[in-house]
């Protein structure tokens, strides 16, 4: 263990996978320049050669299809999209092909037609880049059967979930967020995996459960700090995996606290926060003291100016405010629903 940044942890996972398994290769835009991937892939081309670290033409569709085909032919590709927005050009190979393939050809994961593929997509927004360079589209992929989706928020998970994605027999979408690249934390030196589908409880608490995804999981931790100063004891769950997601851990926590705030960096309507809120409302129905609150992006494209960006992206303050509102609404503490 030693402290790494999130970006360094991603790079280390790549380097270890490339070193350990000759079938692993990376393909996508920006692999030979720090411009696209920050330090998260830096120097891998020099270390492992340009035949296995392949900076590609501007052809998202065919490059992603190449990765799908290479996976079917026995390699272990990581296809890299330096921005999620660009990946919209690759929906056919991802959704029609990779996600359906193994089911279509036999109906069980791990058959000869499995697609052992990692699709890595970066959420890269802010900085006055505007609406086409800001989109966090994870909910679209969470909806697709046959795909797994992971979204780490810490350096350790950034490494562990990438290695777990690679170990998975099916296609896994790995989404990282540039806003997290500088976060530091302890990361195991050896290769390690974090089980896909398992949430992490970042803080135990009894008054309200804050459930966060990726960047917003980090904001939930900050929100819990704010609330603590106000005497509110928040539990924080970092979802880490979006599909499958850890309904058990979340439902158990909310059943205990009676209150839930779901924080997501995607748009609100039909977003990941909707799925999580709906499922909590169903599973913790008898114990909910107030409606599940959602903190997500407003249903508009992203603005560009710094002032509007500040208003657009919610964070710890908004999460804390949502938690406060829940507590006010159900001020009397634990009140059980009375069944007839």
């Amino acid at each position: 263990m030693r402290a790494l940044t999130y970006a360094q942890a991603i790079r280390e996972a790549h380097a270890q996978m490339l070193a350990l398994d000759a079938r692993v290769f990376i393909v996508g835009q920006g692999l030979w320049s720090p411009w696209y991937a920050g330090s998260s892939l830096e120097g891998l081309d020099r270390e492992f050669g340009c035949a296995r670290v392949v900076d590609s033409p501007v052809s998202e569709n065919a490059v992603t299809g190449l990765a799908v085909g290479a996976a079917l032919a026995g390699l272990r590709p990581i296809v890299f999209h330096p921005r999620m927005d660009f990946m919209l050009l690759a929906m056919d190979p991802i959704v029609n092909q990779a996600a359906n393939w193994s089911y279509l050809f036999g109906g069980h994961a791990g058959n000869q037609s499995s697609v052992p593929l990692v699709i890595r997509a970066v959420i890269n927004r802010g900085g006055e880049q505007g609406a086409q360079h800001s989109q966090a589209l994870h909910a679209m992929f969470m909806h697709v059967p046959g795909l797994k989706v992971v979204m780490p928020s810490t350096p350790a998970d950034a490494k562990g979930l990438l290695m777990a994605a690679m170990a998975d027999p099916g296609p896994v979408l790995y989404i990282d967020d540039r806003w997290l690249y500088a976060e530091t934390g302890e990361v195991p030196t050896e290769p390690h995996t974090v089980a896909i589908g398992e949430a992490a409880v970042r803080r135990s608490g009894s008054d309200v459960t804050l459930i966060g995804i990726s960047w917003m999981a980090a904001e939930c931790v900050r929100a819990a700090g704010i609330l603590e100063c106000e005497g509110v004891d928040a539990e924080v769950i970092d979802l880490r995996s979006l599909k499958p997601w850890d309904k058990t851990t979340v439902a158990a926590s909310v059943s205990r606290t009676g209150r839930a705030v779901v924080a997501d960096g995607g748009w609100r309507t039909a977003g990941a926060s909707a799925e999580i809120a709906a499922e909590i409302a169903e599973r913790a129905f008898d114990n909910l003291l107030a409606p599940v609150a959602r903190v997500a992006l407003p249903d508009t494209p992203a603005p560009a100016s710094r002032a509007e960006e500040r208003a657009y992206y919610p964070g710890a303050e908004q999460i804390a405010a949502a938690a406060r509102a829940l507590l006010e609404r159900s001020a009397g503490g634990l009140v059980k629903r009375v069944a007839a």
């Binding site: 065919a62 190449l66 089911y103």
Partner: protein, 305 residues
């Protein structure tokens, strides 16, 4: 070729009788292409196809029984009864997959070729696709990637002049399909797709070039499908009238040419060979009929996906 023809005629009957329910795009009239190309491949070379791939599957050595079972959506089908006619695979003989998204497998074939090259194998990947597929941009992206990385890939464009109801002249300006890869430095060639010898010769040259590490080749095989775009009927199903064209093409039956040559070369037992094929087909149909349907899986198991 006879096997493909007779198997598909049997499937056509089963479509007409209603026994086969899934959409079937018949290859009848185009058999020389699959036969000629696959004869140029080793067992480890791989092929990729689309919605009209019964021929590719059989020519590459896919099991006849598993084809009929798949078309009847039985669990013994080559896709476990989860795909149907448009979804054929037999990884053990190098059929990596055929799926009905037009041009969907072309980038995948590029990826397979990429894998063979990276591993230093001399395996070749073949992508079969139609004239319509060249209208999908990612086919052009794919050709660029294949040329740039000098991949062992052979692109077979089966130009049957139509994409469903539209003649090529309604979809593009020039009849220059063989030059589709020129901009991306993929050399192209046009052959008579109804002449198995010509197809085979072109395919062999392209496969050898690929094995030598010289990169991808495009072969346009000019042909015509006899039946409708989908289903068993003779093309009245998509609102087009192609009777005249069909009359021109029927005499160019790829099978007829081969039979004539075989007879010339003194092969006398054609009728007997056809009988044997028909017996195999009958057996495959019976086995498929007797096989169980795939079991609806409990959601748990399905959710593993």
């Amino acid at each position: 070729m006879t096997l493909i023809r007779h198997a598909e005629e049997r499937i056509a009957e089963m479509v007409e009788s209603g026994e086969v329910g899934c959409p079937c795009h018949l290859y009848i009239g185009q058999e020389a292409i699959a036969a000629g190309v696959c004869a140029a491949l080793t067992a480890t070379d791989t092929v990729w196809g689309g919605h009209r791939s019964h021929g590719h599957y059989l020519a590459k050595g896919g099991s006849l029984a598993a084809l009929f079972a798949e078309v009847l959506l039985k669990s013994t089908g080559c896709a476990g009864g989860r795909g149907g006619s448009m979804h054929l695979a037999a990884v053990e003989v190098g059929i990596l997959g055929t799926v009905p998204i037009v041009a969907g497998t072309v980038p995948l074939a590029v990826g397979a070729a990429f894998a063979y090259k990276l591993r230093g194998e001399d395996t070749v990947a073949v992508a079969f696709f139609g004239d319509g597929a060249l209208e999908e941009g990612h086919v052009h992206e794919s050709m660029n990637l294949a040329a740039l990385y000098r991949l062992p890939l052979v692109l077979i464009c089966e130009n049957n002049l139509y994409a469903s109801h539209l003649h090529w002249g309604e979809r593009r300006v020039a009849d220059n399909f063989d030059r589709a890869g020129e901009f991306h430095s993929v050399p192209g060639e046009r052959v008579d797709g109804n002449d198995v010898t010509a197809v085979h010769a072109a395919a062999r040259a392209a496969v050898e070039r690929a094995r030598r590490g010289e990169g991808p080749t495009l072969i346009e095989c000019r042909t015509f499908r006899w039946r409708g775009h989908v289903g068993a009927s003779f093309d009245l199903d998509v609102g087009v009238e192609r009777r005249g064209e069909l009359a021109d093409w029927l005499p160019r039956d790829p099978l007829l040419r081969v039979s004539e040559e075989l007879i010339e070369h003194g092969v006398a037992d054609l009728a007997q060979r056809e009988q044997a094929i028909d017996a195999r087909i009958a057996g495959a149909v019976e086995a498929a009929r007797a096989a169980p349907q795939p079991q609806p899986q409990p959601e748990e198991a399905l959710c593993a996906h």
